[in-house]
């Protein structure tokens, strides 16, 4: 299924890697993504090491990455750009202070979604990234 998703063939769902250290949230995120016909959850990770290993293995199209994440969100984003350069990352954070947003931006993450905003906004951010050339 990952092969189908990551070879970019038309109609194939986008593969998504979910990274959050809160198990309840991770499970909920999975359900929300699975409910989308154009997306597919290929793996979930609850710390930086696992996230990088799974990103290297699955080369997902999209990654949802917690900012206050074991292994540090911005650092994980940087390392992910090396081990899976084609993956596009959405920051998903309970913090919206300037510092957190700027640190993610300087790690190359342009989409920043605050936890607590609607699912629609998170999904819209994921689709925007997926549709970038």
């Amino acid at each position: 299924m990952t092969a189908a998703a990551s070879d970019g063939s038309p109609g194939a769902p986008f593969s998504v890697l979910l990274c959050d250290d809160n198990a309840m949230l991770l499970e909920t995120l999975s359900e929300v993504i699975r409910a989308q016909p154009d997306m597919e959850v290929v793996a979930t990770a609850c710390d930086g090491e696992e996230a990088l290993r799974l990103a290297g293995r699955h080369r997902p199209d999209l990654v949802v990455l917690d900012v206050r994440f074991p292994g540090d969100g911005p650092s994980v984003a940087r390392d992910m750009a090396r081990c899976s350069p084609a993956s596009r990352i959405v920051a998903f954070s309970a913090y919206d202070d300037k510092g957190s947003v700027e640190r993610m931006a300087s790690a190359g993450v342009s989409e920043y979604v605050l936890k607590g905003t609607s699912n629609r906004e998170l999904l819209a951010a994921l689709r925007r990234l997926a549709e970038l050339p």
């Binding site: 995120l29 359900e31 309970a94 913090y95 607590g116 699912n119």
Partner: protein, 352 residues
């Protein structure tokens, strides 16, 4: 004044030990103050070497001799340190030794003036101890608030985010009649998340512990007062010295509480903050243009906020006041000392 009268004056002084040493350091005169401070009567001490007043460690390091040599070389020596009374107890002394020469330039001996500084030293130490306790109290409170903020963030908010996400998901799957109700529920949950988020922000404002008072207040005014509350505000500051972290936190927390009062009760559109150095400390004003009616319906909360502000200022050794005039707004004004950072405690300070 006759020589006799002068001798009587010196003999009678009680607050200072005033006595003379011969050129070798043997005691040749004694007064009432010296007896009061050191405990020796004249008959017990005349003819003894003045090194008996020094603790054993100073005697063995040759401090008494070194002090006489310095007085000879420089005319005068001043020292503060431990001295020993006749009964063996120690006191903290200020000592001045002056070399005395005759008109031919021959050393005649030394004048020695000793003051007992024990009380002043004890008062200073009590003050330092109070400062240390205060600093510790402020830091402990901040640590606790930070911990609560993190708990709320990492646990309560995340759980509610999950609830909100599931409600939204569910709303897409149920018939439209139920969907509207679920959406209302979802909106309530998201509003609660917003409130919890601002609670954690209040508990632990980013910036204050990393960037200091002025930057901490500036970003609080930007992020909260202007952005969230939509109020106009000005911030004027003139500090001649950066406050210690504890003083900075104290000022920040009082201003934060005062601003929260303005937001909740004053019906104001504008607030002006002024922070400046005054009277060896820092004077701060928070003035709004609201109704000037300080008594809100929610008396308990107001009461708590006022008590917290006053207690913070007074615990820091300062004062706090609030004045209101109907129609012209409310001003919170407080002053806290701006002490230098405490040196680490000296291990020798606990001496008897």
């Amino acid at each position: 004044m006759s020589e006799t009268a002068f001798t009587l004056l010196v003999q009678g002084v009680l607050d200072y030990g005033i006595f003379m040493l011969d050129p070798q350091g043997y005691i040749i005169s004694w007064n009432a103050g010296a007896e009061r401070i050191k405990g020796y009567r004249a008959a017990d001490i005349l003819g003894q070497h003045f090194s008996v007043f020094y603790p054993p460690e100073d005697q063995s390091s040759g401090k008494p001799q070194w002090e006489l040599e310095t007085a000879v070389a420089e005319g005068r020596l001043e020292d503060e340190g431990w001295r020993v009374r006749q009964d063996g107890s120690r006191f903290w002394a200020n000592v001045v030794i002056t070399a005395l020469w005759d008109e031919k330039g021959v050393l005649q001996g030394f004048g020695k003036v000793t003051r007992d500084m024990s009380e002043r030293r004890a008062a200073q130490q009590a003050l330092s101890e109070r400062r240390r306790l205060f600093d510790h109290l402020v830091q402990a409170q901040e640590t606790e608030r930070r911990r609560i903020a993190w708990d709320v963030h990492d646990d309560s908010i995340q759980a509610m985010v999950a609830v909100g996400m599931r409600l939204e998901l569910l709303a897409e799957r149920v018939p439209e009649a139920h969907a509207a109700e679920l959406q209302r529920l979802d909106a309530t949950v998201r509003e609660a998340i917003g409130r919890l988020r601002s609670l954690t922000f209040r508990l632990h404002p980013p910036g204050i512990d990393r960037h200091g008072l002025i930057e901490g207040l500036t970003s609080h005014l930007d992020d909260v007062v202007r952005s969230s509350w939509g109020m106009t505000c000005s911030f004027d500051h003139q500090l001649d010295r950066t406050p210690t972290p504890e003083t900075a936190i104290t000022i920040f927390r009082i201003v934060q509480e005062a601003l929260l009062n303005v937001h909740k009760h004053a019906r104001a559109s504008r607030v002006d903050i002024r922070v400046r150095s005054a009277d060896g400390g820092i004077l701060t004003y928070v003035a709004d243009d609201g109704t000037g009616e300080p008594m809100p319906k929610d008396r308990t909360r107001e009461h708590f906020g006022v008590i917290e502000m006053r207690e913070r200022a007074e615990t820091a050794g300062g004062w706090w006041s609030m004045h209101s005039r109907p129609g012209t707004g409310t001003t919170v004004e407080f002053w806290v000392p701006n002490p230098l950072p405490l040196p680490p405690p000296e291990p020798g300070d606990g001496a008897p």
